[in-house]
């Protein structure tokens, strides 16, 4: 019964989120994010249809669609990446470097597993595959959030909601699926409802923060440090622009 209530509430929240975005016409501002929400809503509706009409096929259908939802989840990360860092080219360079490191680590792990003939195996179980996908998402989110926090990149209410909501869900999923793979944890009904509750919390965060459009504040052209440079002297500015153009040409200061 509790599971059914969660299910319906999730579907209602997803529909509300989409309806609000379409009503206020800002879904085009976060295309990848709303693509994810649409996919998940469709998956939930299909699941409900299968659950009521073909209950025996439901477990298999659930895991296959869960894999699809986890894959589409990368669209949310792409949204965060483009929205948060598009005006900060230097930070994008750092982010790209770190993301490449993660990609290299994943490839090494895959190759090592394939060579040794053991270890990582995508076909082991669907739950294990989802766990690994969520773990990779967690690593990517970790990089993006660490950069946002370290460089104190200003974020609007919408983006903050997307980041906080999805990160909470991914962190909970990684922990849940990790523990769920242990014998004795997975089958417990209470344990199995943790992930849907976390997802419902995420949807509530999204509904609250994406109710109206709040664009990301860009780099402040009149920031304190910028004004102080002006105060320093016009000469310093000329030297600065010369130095930057010199650096762009590949020279050294």
């Amino acid at each position: 019964m509790f599971g059914q209530v969660l299910w319906w509430t999730e579907i209602a929240a997803e529909a509300l989120l989409l309806a609000r975005a379409i009503g206020t016409k800002f879904y085009t501002k976060y295309t990848s994010f709303y693509f994810y929400v649409t996919c998940v809503l469709l998956v939930d509706l299909f699941r409900f249809g299968v659950f009521t009409t073909l209950p025996n096929s439901y477990p298999l259908f659930y895991w296959r669609t869960q894999f699809l939802a986890a894959t589409v989840g990368y669209a949310v990360i792409l949204e965060m990446y483009t929205q948060a860092l598009k005006k900060y080219r230097g930070v994008v360079r750092v982010a790209n470097g770190l993301l490449l490191c993660i990609l290299a680590a994943v490839m090494l792990k895959t190759i090592a597993g394939a060579v040794s003939g053991s270890g990582w195996s995508p076909g082991e179980t669907m739950a294990a595959l989802e766990r690994d996908m969520r773990a990779l998402q967690a690593a990517l989110l970790l990089v993006i959030i660490a950069l946002l926090a370290y460089y104190k990149i200003p974020t609007g209410k919408n983006l903050m909601g997307i980041v906080v909501g999805y990160s909470c869900y991914v962190a909970t999923s990684v922990l849940c699926l990790g523990f769920g793979s242990l014998p004795g944890f997975g089958p417990r009904p209470a344990w199995r409802s943790v992930q849907p509750i976390a997802y419902l919390a995420t949807l509530l965060i999204w509904c609250l923060t994406l109710w109206s459009y709040h664009p990301n504040p860009g780099p402040d052209p009149g920031s304190k440090i910028e004004r102080d440079y002006k105060l320093l002297s016009d000469q310093t500015k000329r030297i600065l622009s010369k130095a930057r153009s010199y650096l762009k040409m590949g020279g050294e200061l």
Binding site: V91, R131, A135, L148, A149, V164, I225, D228, L240, K248
Partner: protein, 192 residues
């Protein structure tokens, strides 16, 4: 159970970093602070005295004098007051390092010439410095400045090397900010 540890670590780390980011965004949103040239000028005047102060607080001269010339009650009083001074000095050093880091981050995030290796090195150095500084504060609080002067000396030598790395980076990113950095890290080493 051991195969669970990476997932547990990753999940908890993500939660911790997220909490830190949200807390930082909420608390520091309205109080974004960067080094200004006005502060720069005031600190420039006090660089020499600050270096002398550090050497004086952790040096042995005063303690030797108090140890040989005064009764034990005065010695205890000296240690108490010197501990308070040392803690204040260390906290100020930590605050100034953080200001330099904030100034660096404020300039670096708008720069197109960021270098990932230097950035990571700086971030790790800064984290290490904060850890060291906090542990020093703990040691001084527990043992007093006289007994911990060797550790403080090593830390300040290390901080001076850190300053060189900052200056190098800031010179690339923004020559004007380089001056700001230069004025805040001229702590000398402490004589052991």
């Amino acid at each position: 159970m051991s195969q669970l540890l990476p997932y547990l670590f990753l999940g908890l780390l993500l939660s911790a970093v997220l909490a830190w980011w949200v807390w930082d965004a909420i608390v520091h949103r309205s109080t974004a602070e960067v080094l200004t040239p006005r502060q720069h000028r005031s600190t420039a005047r006090s660089v020499g005295s600050q270096r002398d102060l550090g050497e004086r607080i952790f040096g042995t001269e005063d303690w030797d004098f108090v140890l040989h010339e005064t009764p034990s009650e005065i010695q205890r009083m000296f240690q108490r007051e010197r501990t308070v001074l040392a803690l204040a000095w260390l906290r100020r050093t930590r605050r100034q390092t953080s200001q330099v880091m904030r100034a660096h981050v404020a300039v670096a995030r708008q720069s197109e010439d960021l270098q990932i290796v230097v950035e990571i090195k700086l971030a790790l150095n800064y984290l290490l410095f904060l850890g060291l500084c906090n542990s020093l504060i703990g040691w001084v609080w527990l043992l007093g400045p006289v007994r911990t002067r060797k550790i403080v000396g090593h830390t300040l030598q290390w901080a001076a090397r850190q300053r060189a790395a900052f200056a190098q980076l800031m010179a690339r990113v923004d020559p004007a900010s380089c001056r700001v950095v230069g004025t805040n890290f001229n702590h000398g080493t402490v004589r052991n």
